[in-house]
């Protein structure tokens, strides 16, 4: 009976294949040049939005974080509707740079911005966002190849070129821009941008959610209002669809302490921070918006806080700066400014999660680029003590063998 069923299935498969073959032939016959006459039924539901790309795996809309190498590490871009959590480095220097890049990419792509912080004045911070590098090859999708390429030995010509910068091999598909940190955005350009700043709650605001610290509820209320007013909800039909970029700096820092909260700082943060992320994720899932949030994880004494935050976010990264640590003077790390640890890359509307090429990642900040690279040891170009010892031992051995003196041009 089983054999009979299998045979019938095979016959059905063959009939299906023949049918599809017939359809292909029909398509070829009625085609006009390279365009087939078959068209997809219904209109494309995902509108084209500037500065976005559709994922080939799950049709998710992706946007750039502003750092092309970071985009590659997290899966060719940040999915719209998701939260990227960044655990700050000790002094918070590099996490601020990532926020600046995220906002700068939004300005370059004409995306509305929302910046919230209680640690600094957002009005000052937003004036310091960098501008794109003019003639940036990565944005235009052209490789910057020199006219006179370096010739290499023929035996290595067909070998795969080693790329220490993730994603640099397929620069033609880059989504983001590179930015010059030395040049700030012009005031007139900033005036043309659609941005919202939040540092202090307004008087008329009513907090959302039952937070112990009302500041979280007030920020959530402001975000909710911005999404509703800007027509970023999925059900809205604006004239021109865009993506709202939310940047929240140092969420849960001591500056977020609530005046009406009787609990200790850690207890209040443990209760409110994961709840805030849950509610924010619920709002973002139903809207054309995404968030990059930095948290000062090194300030939390309770280890469970950051674990709960990582669980509530879609992607989580940790920055470990070498500043002030023993690694700063270590010759092994002299090319880098810190390490990047991937804590979580969760699935968003897909089955398989993105697996990065390497987990050993380091970052360095150049004048015009923030680069994330695979961590590798520097080449040993100088004479070291080990090398000298090797030479001595070679000399000793050469006395016994057929080799002549070291000054001789011939070794034997």
């Amino acid at each position: 009976m089983v054999t009979k069923n299998k045979t019938t299935y095979n016959l059905l498969d063959a009939a299906h294949a023949a049918c599809s073959h017939t359809i292909n032939i029909m398509a070829a016959l009625t085609s006009d040049g390279n365009i087939t006459s078959f068209q997809r039924k219904g209109r494309n539901r995902i509108p084209y939005i500037q500065g976005t790309r559709q994922s080939v795996q799950n049709a998710q809309i992706l946007v750039s974080s502003g750092v092309p190498s970071l985009d590659h590490v997290v899966g060719n871009g940040l999915p719209v509707g998701s939260i990227l959590l960044i655990e700050e480095d000790t002094f918070g220097t590099f996490s601020k740079f990532i926020l600046k890049y995220f906002l700068a990419e939004g300005v370059a792509c004409d995306h509305p911005l929302f910046l919230a912080s209680r640690d600094f004045l957002p009005s000052t911070f937003i004036k310091q966002i960098p501008v794109p590098i003019k003639g940036d090859s990565s944005a235009s999708g052209q490789d910057s190849k020199s006219d006179d390429p370096m010739t290499i030995a023929w035996r290595y010509q067909n070998m795969r070129q080693v790329q220490s910068i993730p994603g640099s091999s397929n620069s033609g598909t880059h989504l983001g821009h590179n930015f010059d940190l030395t040049q700030f955005i012009l005031p007139e350009d900033l005036e043309n941008c659609d941005y919202t700043l939040w540092s202090e709650p307004e008087e008329n605001d009513t907090p959302l959610g039952n937070f112990c610290n009302p500041n979280y509820g007030l920020l959530l209320s402001k975000i909710q209002k911005k999404i509703a007013e800007g027509q970023f909800r999925v059900q809205d039909e604006p004239i021109k669809q865009s993506i709202l970029r939310l940047a929240i700096h140092s969420l849960g820092s001591p500056m977020w302490v609530g005046c009406s909260c009787d609990e200790s700082l850690d207890e209040g943060v443990k209760r409110d921070l994961p709840k805030f992320l849950l509610y924010l994720r619920a709002i973002l899932r139903e809207s054309y918006a995404l968030a990059v949030i930095t948290v000062p994880s090194h300030l939390f004494r309770d280890n469970s806080i950051i674990k709960l935050c990582e669980y509530q976010s879609d992607m989580a990264l940790r920055l470990e700066s070498f500043a002030g640590s023993s690694y700063e003077t270590n010759p092994v790390f002299k090319e880098y400014h810190g390490l990047l640890h991937i804590r979580k890359l969760g699935p968003v509307n897909t089955l398989a999660t993105h697996v990065p090429e390497s987990l050993d990642l380091a970052f360095k900040l150049r004048r015009k680029k923030f680069v994330i690279e695979k961590l590798h040891l520097p080449p040993e170009l100088q004479e070291s003590a080990q090398r000298e010892q090797d030479d001595i031992s070679t000399e000793k051995r050469s006395g016994m063998g057929c080799s002549s003196s070291p000054s001789s041009k011939l070794d034997f």
Binding site: N5, Q57, N58, N210, R233, A282, R285, K344, V348, L351
Partner: protein, 268 residues
């Protein structure tokens, strides 16, 4: 497809079909694919096996099928729809046929913030906090309605610990789960699958995990690799229970498939 996971864990046995199963996810592992595989087993796998046993070629949704009610707390319902589609299961078409129903808590929370109407007793969410009493009543009504039309029903709850985060107390959640366990005796041919995230550092989550493990007939544990990420292995999966032989497996998530293998046999 999902059959490999179901067969490897022995969850296609008849005794599993009307029991309660706890799915525990540890660390930063994600167990949503296990729930999608369970949905595939309920909506496609079981009926296909029964049809094959009766000598029929194509399984058809009928009164002998299993209906599914999904409550999503951590991921959106769209996530499960997309994930199931990768496994060859179109939940949208099945919901049109009445075989599948869903309750998306993310959407409920989002709507509770956006609408400014006065909250009533029947509302599932009040200013972000889920009202577990209303939630249970709503789920029970849906289950009874599904049971009227289909032979068996499966209730799947994804990441129930998110109710704790939203402000529900441990005691309320334990009572809620206890009431759900009580439905097993009230509704015949009901199976219950509840997943939760367990973190050893968070006391309330650890308690919830222990409670679920104790209250369920079978436990499936999903955890990440201890040594980090790998391209060949996505994580570790273990199963244990009263009548199932306990075992540990490695799994790999591909674009449209879940591969299962014994530890160390990923490259074989």
């Amino acid at each position: 497809m999902a059959a490999a996971l179901i067969a490897a864990l022995g969850l296609d046995q008849p005794e599993v079909q009307s029991s309660s199963i706890a799915v525990l996810e540890k660390g930063n592992a994600d167990s949503s694919f296990v729930l999608s595989c369970f949905m595939w087993e309920c909506l496609v796998g079981r009926s296909a096996r029964e049809c094959r046993a009766n000598g029929l070629l194509l399984p058809r949704p009928s009164e002998t099928s299993t209906a599914v009610l999904l409550l999503t707390c951590h991921h959106s319902a769209a996530h499960y729809r997309n994930q199931s589609l990768k496994l060859g299961l179109n939940l949208t078409s099945l919901s049109q046929k009445g075989l599948f129903e869903e309750l998306d808590l993310m959407k409920i929370i989002s709507e509770s913030f956006s609408t400014l109407k006065e909250t009533s007793d029947e509302d599932l969410c009040r200013n972000g906090t889920i009202v577990v009493k209303s939630l249970f009543a709503s789920m029970r009504t849906k289950l009874l309605k599904l049971k009227e039309n289909f032979k068996s029903v499966c209730l799947i709850i994804g990441n129930v610990n998110d109710l704790l985060t939203s402000g529900v107390s441990n005691t309320q959640l334990f009572i809620f789960i206890n009431y759900l366990q009580g439905l097993l005796s009230e509704i015949t041919n009901l199976s219950l699958v509840i997943s939760t995230h367990v973190s050893d550092d968070a006391e309330s989550e650890r308690l919830l995990g222990a409670f679920l493990k104790n209250a369920s007939d079978f436990t499936v544990t999903v955890s990440a690799l201890q040594t980090g990420l790998s391209k060949d292995v996505s994580g570790c999966l273990s199963v244990g229970g009263l009548s199932l032989s306990s075992g540990t497996y490695h799994y790999r998530l591909l674009d449209r498939q879940v591969k299962m293998f014994s530890p160390g046999a990923s490259s074989v």
